[in-house]
Subunit: 390 residues, 2 copies
Amino acid sequence: MKLNTNYDKLQNSYLFVEIANRVKKYTAENPAADIIRLGIGDVTRPLAPCVVEAGLKAMSEMGKAETFRGYSPDSQGYDFLRNAISAYYASFGVKVGAEEVHVSDGAKSDCGNIVDMFDADNTVLIPDPVYPVYFDSNIMSGRKVIFCDATEENDFAPLPDDNTDCDIIYLCSPNNPTGSAYTFAQLKKWVDFANARGAIIIYDAAYEAFVTDPDVPRSIFAVDGARTCAVELCSFSKTAGFTGTRCGYTVVPNELCGGRLAKMWARRQSTKFNGTSYIQQRMAEAAYSEEGIKQNLENIRAYQKNAKLISDTFAEMGIYHTGGKNSPYIWLKCNGDSWDFFDKLLTQANVVGTPGSGFGKNGEGFFRLTAFNTYEKTEEAMRRIKKVLS
Amino acid sequence: MKLNTNYDKLQNSYLFVEIANRVKKYTAENPAADIIRLGIGDVTRPLAPCVVEAGLKAMSEMGKAETFRGYSPDSQGYDFLRNAISAYYASFGVKVGAEEVHVSDGAKSDCGNIVDMFDADNTVLIPDPVYPVYFDSNIMSGRKVIFCDATEENDFAPLPDDNTDCDIIYLCSPNNPTGSAYTFAQLKKWVDFANARGAIIIYDAAYEAFVTDPDVPRSIFAVDGARTCAVELCSFSKTAGFTGTRCGYTVVPNELCGGRLAKMWARRQSTKFNGTSYIQQRMAEAAYSEEGIKQNLENIRAYQKNAKLISDTFAEMGIYHTGGKNSPYIWLKCNGDSWDFFDKLLTQANVVGTPGSGFGKNGEGFFRLTAFNTYEKTEEAMRRIKKVLS
């Protein structure tokens, strides 16, 4: 039996392991240190009350013969949730049919599995710095990957270059890790570029709930022409705190590839996936109810307040950064080696962030902070960082 | 952009659609008919009380800041569940290390995704009749598939033929759809065959909880030599009624491929999957607690009672069949076209089953009934079938 040797080409991801090791070593040597973590991209606020309530109800239904649910009738999701997601899109003016929504256990799964739809002989274009899953999932299946540079020059929002030959394009906006977000006009350039060459855009909209700027679309389908060139991945993780609950969805427009892609994705999911739990689907439905959106907005507003505080702090110090607005991430210029800056913040401010170099070569000299801690801890972290950097 | 044209080689699975259509047409014409469904492989009894209790508790934890859980620390599963699964194996004398257990959202996902580990250039051996996912997932990734015949001659438990050239072997025991189950001695023949040629066995143990015969192993790892040639897929779906709850696991022994496969699978799962929900993991932990095993056994005993009733009915009529023992499935010889027999049972007994031909060419002339309805309905179905067939 021959193993898939593409796996040998993967680099081990030491980023978060290395961070953990350095923090562990430091705290062992300095047990009294009060470490503040602004490194991870995980939410910290509990699920919204109406989501928990819906979950408790669904859980109880599963314990009674009359209301028990077995396999879901459609592995793409229950109608009640697909309709709720369609209505959610409509609430910000984007038309997505319920039948175009494919519910899953999370956007990461969809992001990893969507590559199954494409031949190995395609060239993949990925911005650098990048969320590693885009790169790794294509290496695993043997595709050629090229990069486009996200840098200070383009405010970490690179635009297409007509001379680039590519078939599959990954875009994430608002971006992880840089927090930058495309405007309608910028995203339109990518849509036109993709349509002109028959390329497909895999659009990661996981952070759409953080968008506040009216110039920034919350979905690629808010842009004319996107329905013939894009699929969109989205998640309840950041919108509704589902990182440990697991539910996401992918939108595949009817028009895409003459309808072939939607059929292929449905076939993939019904063959290699058995639907998302009924319990999570009821929780997700509640998250997109009027009450749920209101309750979740409170959490998002809290994270946005932290993001603004971080962004304002660096603006005040005259330090170049992206994000903070439209995003829970702040991506700042650290003028020097990312890991040196990491060590400096860890040892002098007892604040943990993420070295930008861990996200690709263009991340060197940059550093990511996240808005997912409490306001009090974020405030204290900013006080310490100001002291260290001034 | 080039699509994955392997998908064009897939046949649409019309089996359950065709069944639904025929039942719909019949009930439209005969609205008074009291249809009994013994067709689907889905459980009907509610989740065990202690599983629901654990689920409610976990759900409540997710609603409080102090106990909220985000991304799971390890995408292969929480230690509490991996330990519980390891202990479950130990309870029937099989040694599986907690670190060899990879928790997922269900065995179907693992079954579909495990093929990512292997080069496209491998020959896959699958018994016919077959659970379609084994076949489809390999066609999707462009592998050559050959079949070995499960027939009345080998009691639908085919053994290896030394002249067969293959690299990847699928075995499901107790089997879906035939209900046949390998003995230790038979399974040992497959293990030796695989080890002799460096092939790998993908062993589907989803129905292990139905095993009652001491001669039938509940895990391939109960067989000497399996740790160097097999991975095992298992599920809480049939053991604990999780078909709509979603949790499963795959065991990859440390020894396999010199440790490479376990590392590759962990890498795949951490890249293309973000772990199973904390809530489901707590529910699964409860299902494998002492109390949970006891409570779930009550459900399994109920299904087994149905299975025995069906099996005894056909034995009494002198009709050849496999399963019923060690399995919730009864696979019976219908002497003629499977679909004709389907129509006969539907129209004359108002009982719905599954035509064997839907599972492969060797299924023609056979028919599957399942034990997942209530005892009363199963009893009534048997009364009617006896009347029609005698």
